[in-house]
């Protein structure tokens, strides 16, 4: 019998990506919550290179990096496709998932937690990046078409985590005016039953983010 374990952190969008992938395929797994301030020996053994979550361990063999894990899940198990079948569509999906990780998430996160000029610069970068996604989603229900796919799973930070954080820190970046398509996508995404069941509770995330604000030095 296959043994599947996920080492994750409940509040991490990267961790949730992996769980979403497994749930999409109907795969049963054991979830192990990691304390990121006190990483377990097992995590360090399974991901000695980056020492990060998430890690998927399948029959004792570890895989790290959430996008790599999602492709593995798609290939190892039958069920709804995470990536399209057509090579050109697959290339596009990989492109946008990578774009989200490299060009969207970092400046979006930075814009939330920095101040002054640094915040303005991050906001500018994030705004530009989101414009590309706004054009890409263009009237489709999901990036994957009628159903959720790799890009939608990768964009979980944009759809769920970011709007919550934005509101708490008082940042107006992903507004409905500026990004009507993305805002619509985020709504569909967060309200589809599959995703809803797999998101961390709003109030718990709010608590964590408010804690981060309180721990910061007083802003000007």
């Amino acid at each position: 019998m296959a043994e599947v374990k996920v080492f994750g952190a409940w509040g991490s969008p990267f961790s949730k990506r992996v769980e979403m992938g497994l749930k999409l395929k109907g795969v049963e797994y054991e979830y192990i919550e990691e304390d990121l301030k006190n990483k377990s020996t097992l995590l360090l053994k399974y991901n000695p290179v980056h020492k990060k979550i998430p890690v998927l361990v399948h029959n004792g063999k570890p895989i790290s990096e959430s996008l790599v894990i999602l492709e593995y899940i798609d290939e190892a198990w039958e069920g709804p496709n995470i990536l399209p079948k057509d090579p050109y569509e697959r290339a596009k999906a990989r492109f946008w998932a990578k774009f989200i990780d490299e060009k969207c998430v970092p400046p979006m996160w930075k814009a939330c937690w920095s101040i002054g000029e640094e915040r303005e610069k991050a906001k500018e970068e994030a705004s530009e990046a989101l414009k590309f996604l706004e054009n890409e989603i263009n009237g489709q229900k999901f990036f994957g078409g009628d159903t959720i796919g790799l890009v939608d799973i990768a964009a979980n930070f944009i759809g769920y985590w970011f709007p919550i954080t934005e509101e708490i820190v008082g940042l107006e970046l992903m507004t409905q005016d500026k990004y009507p398509n993305l805002s619509k996508w985020a709504y569909e995404y967060c309200n589809c039953s599959f995703v809803k069941e797999n998101l961390p509770p709003n109030d718990k995330l709010v608590e964590i983010f408010k804690g981060i604000i309180q721990a910061q030095p007083a802003s000007n």
Partner: protein, 218 residues
């Protein structure tokens, strides 16, 4: 109907070299177009509006960007000839992981080596050596990162061999001293025609970098 393939590229780009190796492995004919990165062509800006970077592969008018993604695309479309990715899902995940590691850790540190001085340069050198030593460990006693045969993970990293001389000259160290297995592996890969024909002479790369250093004051 014959396939029409255009590769927008830059001779010394280690990312472009990856695509050239993949196309050579599959015996695919294509048109190579050298881009001047200070004066990018309209075609490049149209086919890669997001990143405006090389390489871009245009297949029957449809552009594919990002070298690892292009190589996987080539492998999937021309799947009956010289497969680059392993067939086992776990091995495929490992190949993707290590190619990603090369981009995140080797490329970044390498880039900082020729663009910085003093303390920043020393930090970049340490980061590069750390990354290369991890790769040396991963290779172990295998002939290739892919195992017994040349594959995707070898292709992803071998193109950086063109740049080793540049890194060594800029940071004043020897990669072979730290990672002898990597050098043996690189020479083994260079025996492959697709690799030796696609990699650029390290002296050419170094001369290009010296020119850029002078031009931009690095």
């Amino acid at each position: 109907m014959a396939d029409e393939l255009v590769l927008l590229d830059c001779l010394v780009s280690m990312f472009g070299m990856r695509v050239r190796i993949a196309l050579a492995e599959k015996g695919i004919k294509y048109e190579y177009r050298e881009e001047d990165l200070d004066n990018k062509s309209t075609l490049l800006l149209e086919t890669n509006p997001v990143h405006k970077k090389v390489p871009v592969l245009i297949h029957n008018g449809k552009p594919i960007c990002e070298s690892r993604i292009i190589v996987e695309y080539i492998d999937e479309v021309w799947k009956d000839k010289s497969p680059l990715m392993p067939s086992d899902p776990y091995q495929r995940a490992q190949a993707r992981f290590w190619a990603d590691f090369v981009d995140k850790k080797v490329f970044d540190a390498g880039r900082r080596i020729w663009r910085t001085k003093g303390e920043e340069l020393e930090a970049a050198k340490k980061d590069l050596i750390d990354a290369l030593e991890i790769l040396e460990g991963e290779l172990g006693d295998k002939p290739y990162f892919n195992g017994d045969t040349f594959g995707f993970s070898d292709l992803a990293f071998i193109t950086f061999y063109s740049w080793f001389h540049t890194y060594e000259m800029c940071a004043n160290f020897s990669i072979e001293k730290h990672c002898p297995k990597l050098i043996k592996w690189a020479k083994r890969c260079m025996e492959r025609e697709s690799v030796s024909k696609s990699l650029v002479d390290p002296i050419t790369v170094y001369e290009e970098i010296l020119m850029l250093k002078k031009k931009y004051g690095y």
